[in-house]
Subunit: 289 residues, 2 copies
Amino acid sequence: MKISPDRVAQAALLAMVIELSSTPKPGNVDRGHDFEEIKFHHFLISAVSAYPVFRDAALGSEPTGALIRRAVSSWRGWGLSQNTHFGTVTLLVPLAVAAGRGGDLRGEVEGVLEETTAEDAVEFYAAFALAGARVAEVEDLSLKDPTSLNRVRSGKKTLLDLMRLSSDHDLVAREWSTGFERSFALSEHLIGKVADLGLNDGVVMTYLEALAEVPDSLVASKFGVETAKEASVRAGSILGLEVEETLRLAEELDREFIEEDINPGSTADLMGAALFISLAEGAILRCEE
Amino acid sequence: MKISPDRVAQAALLAMVIELSSTPKPGNVDRGHDFEEIKFHHFLISAVSAYPVFRDAALGSEPTGALIRRAVSSWRGWGLSQNTHFGTVTLLVPLAVAAGRGGDLRGEVEGVLEETTAEDAVEFYAAFALAGARVAEVEDLSLKDPTSLNRVRSGKKTLLDLMRLSSDHDLVAREWSTGFERSFALSEHLIGKVADLGLNDGVVMTYLEALAEVPDSLVASKFGVETAKEASVRAGSILGLEVEETLRLAEELDREFIEEDINPGSTADLMGAALFISLAEGAILRCEE
């Protein structure tokens, strides 16, 4: 199904702001609370200011790496220096390129990833540095080591190659490496939950289940794999109850995670991708007419 | 100062979503609560889906009335049937047209209003009906009376003429009639408050002061002028204290207003206009570079 570039951009923005707003989403900024240095409105700014990037992605007028870098730059134009949506944008840009091509989204996005070049890798490195993002570093391609960038630049690695190197310890890189396997699965799941529970609670329940299922890599990069696994066990422990009870316990878990600085940001990025897929495919927030 | 059409659209979206999110904003949807039938995410949808309309407004490619109608239509494309941002869009579209022209925003917007025609009035009537908006009706131009539309269509009244007919009992129409006098004054005030208190609390304090200053016309259209005046007195009664105390009392007032169904939506529309002016003029959320 081919959708217009503007509609692709709107699906991307809506994915970001609906993910942001859904509450309670333990450990992430939501309607209920800010972080000390990153506030709700900072995420609104990074979503809104990236609109032209998603529109141009759908138009197919620029390479993927350059688009990711432009998204990060566009935040600066509204005074934003915090890293907010870097992981989400890394997922949404290739999805937006694919949605702009029409056809089967899943098939198209694999093509988009396969087409990335060493130049995309160089642009992504620049975006990464600009965003001040925290991800686990790939051993032989450290961002702190200028020879890494030279090796990337020399054309040996495409952006997809780089993502494959990080796929065992970064949830965003894993999506790139698997053709967004989990994002599509989460989208299927989300569509059912939203039909049952409405938008907010559907997003929250899917987020909790995603977190319970796979340890969050942002948490792992901050505190180690054991803490990330434990956070997933804690998310799992409030599932399987009545929905209302789960939601009540999610508020408690949110307070605990915030206090412990446990921020499952990569799982939130995945939810952004799942929301985009659901929106772009017209499976939620369907057109009335 | 000339700003790009994309940046104008971003200022419009940010004005809408920042106004929406700022909390506690007694009687309006905010981060703290939804209404029964109109939820936080409905306002996100109406903001995001109108992006191309604001971009095209800044490009100067379409008449004002047609743009307002397109904004309302665009909401339908994401499944939204509730009236969310009709008043805000009625204010923001001419401001976006003016911002796209460059030069002094205040001078330009007067020109935009003066240029409206009877065709703009016809389009606005259509938008109004489509949005299911509630405003006080102008005596001799009732929306319920098809001869009104015929009289509009016959070319006797421009959209600015229509707004002037409603200016004594509708805050949005009054802005049109006065060249956005109060929106610009509120913007000045807001810029100072945001500098002192940060974005959220700056918006909330300006909203409370605006509500205290002039009775809200949406409240008046639902419950009569006396109730609207009383709501303003109640807003005024929590001002003049320490800011923290005012914010605490604003949460209480919010609960009371929600219970009484008192929704000062026109004052929220004005805050959207004041935020747009502040953003478009680069007075808040300044570019870092």
